[in-house]
């Protein structure tokens, strides 16, 4: 993975000094809270319900074992012994003291990490495919472009106070695993017949209050001109994005108002004047950065069939191991290797995406032993060991069991994406975590979960949609109705190449009703599905009606209806 050079390290060190001074001015009173707020946000520091929350960037989801140990120590020393992996490949610490935040940043800088631009109205942490560089369906490894753009966007002076936050995602694979179309800018990489690396640019996607899928505004853009093209795009947004209404300030509103063609035309006009400047990446820069993303020293391993792997396990463990192989192990570019997903979604115990100090330390050791000392963070809030020899899968499974991260529920109903919700977040209208817990407890039968197959269930505690409910096959959105917490259900959302925004099925429900409503929706699917038809396809074939009827059948109208106005 990428290692900082002297320039990167100096920049991060100097940023720590700058932020320390800003915090000191806040504490001595010369910097009022209102003016400090955007500054602390640009360094990932939120003021939440109970304390400050620090969001640390894990650029494009890539993490070394050494870095994970530092995160574990930060959780132990400055927090309450755990961290929360987010839907945007960041980690959050929930119990931070303002006075200690500069010291945390200094600790992070020592392992080439930072919290720069993890919040604020600026270019946020750039996210990418958690299986970059190893996925069997990859066209191009997106990580060099991600890293070059990370550097380009870091402390960019012109775009630090945009109308609203700005999120990039980059993919280079056949199957999109980045929710590309729900980003302010999505960059899809591929190579043409001549081997040139080209980008397609999608703009104006986003979730939140007005979920919109991004529009293709530029094709076949050579990789090296991304800085000038993105400068043009951001400049158009910075100048003309709305600033009068926070809910209409994202680029998606501007793209929608102008129309994608007109927006693309304006960007093109701006770009024409700067496209040949030396903002653009040079080949030497590519060479320097790309040299960090060479393949690790794979051994020549013989591919092992799934059946052989299962047979290698003791007989009484074969069923469980087989299930883990099926759900939590993914195919790899290199024969004899596989990628392993550790589930941070154990049923009914902690928040989705949480890991304790003890788990992080143990997982870092496993990464060292089995995966060249590197890990990935998925936007589904799980961890990945990307380069595991198939022959060692059984051994790894045994060891990881002790950390409670081998539940074979990846991609299943209980692999719930959820934001921290009202338990922590001061923006939330309702709690997310107890809902996730109740659903996981209700659907605790692994046989049944496996029989149901792939279903994504995403929960957001408010319309900011950090829990990505819009793209869940089943989405749950917390809403506030006269000070009470209610939950609206959407169906039909999907991420990936068939990305879709879910549709609201009707009036919202009380928290205690949600597990039963889920059961009714799932039962409807089971009743109507054909042989191997996944949930989303049954939904598309039948439409919302049977699901809606089941969800509202025999439920007292008044309790359902009172939550209607959202």
């Amino acid at each position: 993975m990428y290692k900082y050079d002297q320039i990167d390290q100096t920049l991060v060190n100097e940023r720590v000094v700058q932020f320390k001074d800003q915090v000191e001015r806040r504490i001595n009173g010369s910097l009022p809270e209102e003016e400090f707020r955007p500054l602390r946000l640009q360094n990932g520091l939120y003021h939440q319900r109970h304390a400050y929350m620090l969001r640390v960037a894990i650029p494009y989801g890539l993490l070394s074992a050494v870095q994970l140990r530092t995160l574990a120590h930060i959780a132990d020393k400055y927090d309450r012994g755990y961290g929360h992996f987010t839907t945007r490949q960041n980690i959050q610490f929930n119990w931070i003291r303002l006075e200690e935040s500069p010291a945390i940043l200094a600790d992070l800088a020592k392992v080439q990490m930072h919290a720069i631009q993890t919040s604020g109205n600026c270019i946020r942490n750039i996210t990418s495919d958690a299986f970059a560089g190893v996925a069997a369906d990859e066209y191009v490894d997106p990580r060099p472009v991600c890293e070059l753009l990370r550097q380009w966007s870091t402390l960019h002076p012109e775009f630090a106070f945009l109308p609203r936050k700005f999120k990039f995602a980059v993919t280079g694979a056949e199957e999109d695993r980045t929710i590309l179309l729900c980003h302010d800018v999505g960059i899809a990489l591929k190579k043409n017949a001549q081997g040139q690396l080209l980008a397609s640019i999608y703009a104006g996607g986003g979730m939140g209050r007005t979920p919109i899928l991004g529009s293709l505004i530029k094709e076949n853009l050579p990789w090296n001109v991304l800085p000038s093209y993105l400068t043009a795009l951001l400049r158009v947004y910075n100048r003309f994005g709305r600033r009068d209404n926070i809910y209409k300030a994202r680029i998606k509103i501007l793209v929608k108002a102008l129309g994608p063609e007109e927006f693309a035309r304006q960007v093109e006009g701006e770009w024409a004047t700067i496209k040949d400047g030396d903002d653009n990446f040079q080949q030497s820069e590519w060479d320097r950065v790309a040299s960090h993303f060479t393949k690790p020293a794979y051994t020549l391993a013989k591919p092992i069939s799934t059946q052989e792997l299962i047979n290698s396990a003791p007989e009484n463990e074969q069923a469980a191991f087989a299930r883990w192989l099926e759900r939590n192990v993914k195919s790899h570019q290199v024969p004899g290797y596989a990628s392993v997903i550790f589930s941070l979604k154990p049923h009914g115990s902690v928040a989705p995406g949480d890991a304790t100090t003890e788990q992080m330390l143990a997982i870092a050791d496993l990464a060292d032993q089995y995966s060249f000392g590197e890990l990935r963070v998925t936007h589904e809030q799980n961890l990945v060991l990307a380069d595991v020899e198939q022959a060692k899968l059984l051994e790894l499974w045994h060891k990881a069991k002790a950390q409670n991260v081998v539940l074979p529920n990846i991609g299943l109903l209980t692999d719930i994406i959820a934001c921290p919700g009202g338990d922590f977040c001061s923006l939330a209208n309702a709690k997310s975590l107890p809902i996730a817990k109740a659903i996981q407890e209700r659907f605790d039968d692994l046989d049944y979960l496996h029989d149901l197959g792939e279903i994504s269930l995403n929960i957001s505690g408010c319309i900011n949609s950090c829990g990505h409910h819009h793209v869940g096959n089943i989405g749950v959105l917390g809403v506030d109705k006269d000070g009470e917490e209610w939950y609206q259900i959407t169906l039909g959302g999907e991420q990936g190449n068939h990305a879709a925004i879910g549709k609201v099925i009707g009036p919202s429900f009380g928290a205690e009703q949600i597990p039963d409503v889920m059961a009714d929706i799932i039962d409807t699917y089971v009743k109507h599905r054909t042989a191997d038809e996944p949930f989303i396809e049954t939904y598309r074939r039948l439409g919302v009606t049977p699901f809606k009827e089941a969800a509202y059948l025999n439920r007292p109208k008044e309790s359902a209806a009172t939550g209607a106005a959202v």
Partner: protein, 196 residues
């Protein structure tokens, strides 16, 4: 109408310093320009210039012509002025205006960073560009790199702290008006782009 006492001047390639302010920011909605002392250096709103500036400059005896001759007039751009729509006016202004400024209606409104960048890049503006309005210490680095070289800091800002801002960063990872990214300078040779 407003006039701060001092200005933080930070010329490209130079050192930052605090100097006395000579320029008055005129809002056009209070009093008449003619009522201001002829010797008073005045920044007029760009929108006012569009409405009044061009005609008046043609008459050598006009109020504006005298001020142009005395080098005592400039314009300030509001955050929502679309300067690219008025390229010809700005080109002509290069030889008339002694100073231009861009306004920050509130510190967290970043439009004027793009205005300054466009003035430098697109219009090759080589004269001083001043940040006015809600200009705070923590915008200085951003402004200085986007294209500003003078700052009318809000009066409550500590100038000692302000002057130290420019020493905070010794490296940069993207080009700006002031400097190229450090990576380019650290490389021995850089070849033109070829396919990867």
């Amino acid at each position: 109408m407003s006039q701060v006492n001092s200005i933080l001047l930070y010329p490209k390639g130079g050192k930052p310093s605090i100097i006395a302010n000579e320029w008055l920011v005129w809002n056009a909605d209070e009093s008449e320009l003619s009522k201001l002392d002829q010797k008073q250096k005045v920044l007029v709103p760009f929108s006012w210039w569009l409405a009044n500036g061009q005609e008046d400059t043609k008459n050598p005896n006009s109020e504006l012509a005298k001020r142009i001759a005395a080098k005592s007039i400039g314009v300030w751009f509001a955050a929502d002025d679309d300067i690219l729509k008025h390229a010809a006016v700005i080109e002509a202004g290069k030889s008339i205006w002694s100073l231009v400024a861009a306004d920050f209606p509130i510190f967290r409104d970043g439009r004027s960073f793009s205005t300054a960048a466009l003035l430098r890049e697109r219009f090759a503006w080589t004269g001083e560009i001043r940040a006015i309005g809600d200009v705070l210490i923590d915008q200085l680095i951003l402004g200085a790199r986007s294209g500003f070289d003078s700052f009318a800091l809000r009066s409550d800002q500590n100038t000692d702290v302000a002057l130290k801002q420019f020493d905070l960063f010794t490296v940069t990872t993207q080009n700006s008006w002031r400097d190229r990214r450090s990576q380019l300078d650290s490389q021995i040779s850089s070849q033109p782009n070829r396919a990867t």
